[in-house]
Assembly symmetry: D2
Homo-oligomer: 402 residues x 4
């Protein structure tokens, strides 16, 4: 049996989610981690020819200097994730993977990310989009050839970018390409540059962040031309997952939601970046539209995200849902969610990599709308209810297994 | 236009849920209540030829002496339900309906219900099942003829019965009928006697309680013979609704639920009855099987129900869900539900009446499995997930409207 | 027995707290309200010669056009406060009291209050501080003489003012007085003008709001000269009360509070005003210093206040307290408070009026530091722990009763 | 400088609280643990001549076979307490202390404890109280002489005993002594036998459990005769601590508590034992009287304690407090406490040992009522409010330092 080899290329490789994904991946390769939390390990997928855990190799882009092991140790110290035994078992492989991590770009990442980036990354400040694109593409391609990989899946896990005015970005790839080749500055954010470079390198792309990335008409066109699969945006791990599960209940019962207040507190790097109002706006927007999509009317909805250092990676969300029932009676549902963001996100990242790899292998390119249940703002579908999104995934399983 | 007239026959007519249903029904007839909380008023149903609110007349059986208006005023005083204006607008009709309420039976209702029943009801103690059945059937038929009703829908809203050993109840109607006609005591509880009487009178039957009622093979057979529609058991209004909505999320994410603890506190009549361990056992059983049905494995699940007088009709439920995610990490979701039990249940009762009336009018008799989303322990289906249950209802709408 | 008569002069007379205080006062006069919530009705006070409820008459200043009855009815409709019976019993007296309400001043109240003020109030825009002071003082004195009152207690219940730079306000009364008499614009906010007018009229003054009012050195001096009693600031009704009760527990147990996050949501007029960042700053400041005062170290503390319309007067606060115990173990206490702001505040307002009346009658003028337990930022004391503040009140009771 | 040496004798030495106390003590001796959570390390105590951490040596009685290190490792695995580094640093000393642990008695400990006890302990079944007393006393005295200890403090941390009928236990020591010397079976529980043995050996005694121990008139008399200090009962670590802090707030505000519901869930050994209804009764009783003591009236109060295995040592308590304020308005406070029972208890145990050691050294024998703030059911005082209990401790500090 000739074994496939697949590369994973993380944008934001040494961040909390990527690091946890890599720790988990290696633990799965060593068969010292249970399969809990992995959607692609549900019985539903038992006849789906997904890639085995052992076939993956990791590389990526970063703008900070840390290394997988240091990043993982910080997660242990600040947030009490992973056991000491687990970490020492995976440590040697983490260090191998570090060698595959290259310098990311700082184009349009916002001042907060610039501030926390390392000196080497800062050296790139001022590079033109054409240079950045070429560099990124070449890094990915070299990773592929060095490791003799059948495929590379590029996954955006970088910090949320500040919102940009994209109204004058052209809608066709040829026009956008022309601008990118000729301009000194980029009209599009870093996430979109990474997506373009991935597509030009013929790689499937997963956008796990709220950044725009591949969701620009010109970039969608490019993906079609290059016959690559892509999906996004913003992994649905905690409070929004609950909203997409609970709001349909209020709709199905004809209960009028009067207000839905959600307060999120946490203390990881993501929290530091989101504490910057510029970056937070992108995130809050990604969380806000959902309720009126599901309920069919506007309601007073409030989402706050605040950095509370002591919580580390432990996202705590309080939701207060005020609703009206029969005969004008007001009632309340409150919930408190205490989950580790990285631990919730990492298995979904690994799932999306396997599902993208298969899709690409089967030649089913374009936007992967059947992956809607993984995302806060799913591309290519208007089904906001989680249960119905999961039905889409089930249908896909039926298609690929019959 | 020849107007239809439909009767509603409540078992437990002056209880909190029935009273609120009647207050709501009359308010709908007078167009002074918004449609919030009524599933059958969702846009989904706009082409379904459901009965209009004005065509309903109310009667029923009771074992206490109260009257709709007194019962409603008690709900205002103890639980702050309904505005003073609403109540005075509906009061005259409530008093009319009181005249249609007849004495219920105390056969196998348990010592707690016997204790709180009125003297007139106590006079029936000792009646044979044959006598009780005849009396109940005749009350319903007389209500139908007195008011020239096209149909009567019988709805069980009586207090939860204590569990009975039903292992020796025969599985065919002819055998059970023979026993009921000849014995001094009844092998089946009051709820089943009411169902049998309803079926013999040719009426559709809704079991909104956890009691067994029509869910005995012999009684199901009788319903088929008589070509009547029936559905149940146990209206899904609060904590269990949330479970059937949330548990599928944990399943779909492959998150391992370690324990699910639910504490329910409330202070209405239902609470007093459930405070009796005999009656509580039936209720807790109805709530417990759901989680393992959805999750596919056994877990430590605890449901407590306690009578806290000061809360009146306001059911407060705290759920603590302890679950394990990737890499053995334990996380927590807590929720607190503060809802008025009667206000949540009443519109569902009215929905079920309309949906049963149409089904019976269309000649679609038997167990109505498409109504699973209304019940904690739905008859005729093994789909425990709320979202999928709601899809069954949507499919039915498609069937009856095409 | 020659009966005393005492006036209550509310600044912000038709606001939620003043209206609820008046509804409650009249209900107490008619003996149709229980004494629950009134500190001054605790057994502790049984030998303290406090004023009886029947001796009070109400007047005040306002900048909106509403009337006590309309304001009360709005509280019923939006927030489900008071029963219909209670309101109709007190309605005639409310209307009598309306006649005693005069136009307030808009000097330095902030743009939000200006916006929601009525046309008559807006006519005053531009008045000099000297004119305003004279007008206010004269309104109070006329009220006293019209009703032949022994005393008038002035109580500030107006909306929170935006913060002002008070660094150049002189520290002596003679200097401040000179400026107020000669300037076109006022260096101090409306609340301080009301306090000055009250003192010049020889009235005790209660500042139930976070505004600065009498807590300026020059104004404190004036109170001493005029021999009047005064106290403040900011009635301690909900979340801050809990903090002043709970934080001492963490201190006494040597548990290290890592972060204390408090989110407050509510939908009354106070909420609208506080939604303006200018006004909110004053409020948040009043809530923030407490924790480090009690705990003795700085910690990450966050207080948010947001206007959620559907909640009406029902303040809901979620507090998440993250703390570290022995051997570096992090633990959590969460609490949710659901209380009606007006219902919580009103009895304290009535208590403070009685306590101030007695103090003034006994000739015990100056800052009333023994009332610290009523306030978020108590004047004249550095004891932030609620239990110890309550001990101060007990000591005062011993003094005045021996 | 002649260094003192003090022994700590734990009843229930290898249980969660004792093990955590020992881990903490050794970590303090090695100066690798912060002082957080230790009351006796508050600035308040800086001039109190308390024992230094280095002077303590540990021994005790047990009925199971585990060892300190295994017990500690189980706490790590099940409940994620202590870091791996901390545990390996203290491990050698834990093993030394293991040698000082002797077989406890099974007299009147209840069937649940008998069931989980080891074979060696079971061999003692049937011993007379006289034999048990002699054996216990001798174990303690031998520990003292072997290690040349100035004092031994005996601390009861054994599992809660089932309630016994103690109505016929004589009130004087001479009568009780006579019975104990002559009877085959004991009229008093194991905890009281341990207290008696401690007193006879001249040791101070701390009862950190809800068991009766030294709180029998005859045993109190013995303590006086032997001039030893003792205190108890039931360490106040979580939910009850909160009650003794929060209930005084409702009392001071004249808010009527309508119901106070507390649900406790946790999964440690204590939880297994308390899941037995016999043992639970003693515990629930210890928690229940507090509210009416503080509030001065009876209210519906409910305390449930349930064993939820997945929670390990993490006690989660939900409290729902329903209260009435002014004008009959009902309001709610809910709180959720998530704390590690052992981590909360252990520093208090160490505090009580130091405070008892000093007291005994100063010759201040008898019931130590100034330690009320440490206990759910404090001996020798009727002050149930936590803040006032803490004032008692402050007064004691003043006494012993002046």
């Amino acid at each position: 049996m000739s074994e496939r080899k697949t590369g994973i290329w993380f944008i934001g490789a040494w961040g909390g989610v990527a690091t946890t994904s890599v720790v988990g991946l290696v633990a799965l390769q060593k068969e010292i981690a249970p399969l809990t939390g992995l959607v692609s390990e549900l019985p539903l997928f038992q006849n789906v020819p997904l890639a085995g855990w052992s076939e993956f190799v990791v590389g990526g882009h970063e703008v900070r200097q840390i290394g997988f092991l240091n990043a993982a140790q910080e997660l242990v110290e600040k947030s009490n994730l992973f056991s000491a035994d687990l970490l020492s078992a995976v440590a040697p492989v983490l260090e191998e993977f570090d060698a595959n991590v290259k310098q990311g770009t700082l184009i349009n990442v916002g001042s907060m990310i610039e501030k926390i980036s390392c000196d080497d990354a800062k050296k790139q400040i001022g590079e033109t989009p054409a240079v950045a694109l070429k560099r990124i593409q070449s890094d990915i391609e070299q990773f592929r050839s060095n490791h003799q990989l059948d495929q590379v899946i590029v996954v955006n896990l970088a910090s949320t970018e500040p919102a940009m005015d994209l109204s004058s970005v052209p809608e066709t790839w040829s026009e956008l390409d022309a601008i990118l080749q000729s301009s000194d500055t980029s009209p599009i954010p870093a996430s979109s540059l990474y997506a373009i470079a991935a597509f030009k390198a013929g790689c499937a792309f997963v956008n796990f962040t709220p950044s725009i990335a591949s969701e620009l008409p010109a970039v969608i066109e490019l993906a079609e031309t290059r016959k690559v699969a892509h999906c996004g945006r913003d992994g649905k791990t905690g409070e929004t997952l609950l909203k997409s599960v609970l709001a349909p209940m209020f709709a199905a019962r004809n209960l009028q939601v009067l207000s839905w207040v959600g307060h999120n507190i946490f203390g990881n790097m993501d929290g530091i970046v989101l504490n910057d109002p510029e970056n937070k706006a992108t995130k809050v927007h990604s969380k806000a539209h959902l309720l009126s999509d599901i309920l069919g009317y506007d309601l007073q909805s409030l989402v706050s995200i605040e950095y509370i250092e002591s919580l580390g990676d432990w996202k705590t969300a309080w939701d207060h849902i005020h609703f009206e029932g029969f005969l004008n009676t007001k009632m309340t549902l409150q919930l408190t969610w205490q989950g580790s963001d990285s631990i919730l996100a990492a298995p979904l990242v690994l799932d999306l990599i396997r599902l993208s790899e298969l899709q690409q292998r089967l030649g089913r390119s374009g936007i992967q709308e059947h992956l809607a249940c993984f995302f806060k703002s799913p591309m290519g579908t208007t089904t906001p209810e989680f249960a119905l999104q999961f039905e889409l995934l089930k249908q896909w399983v039926e298609e690929v297994t019959q």
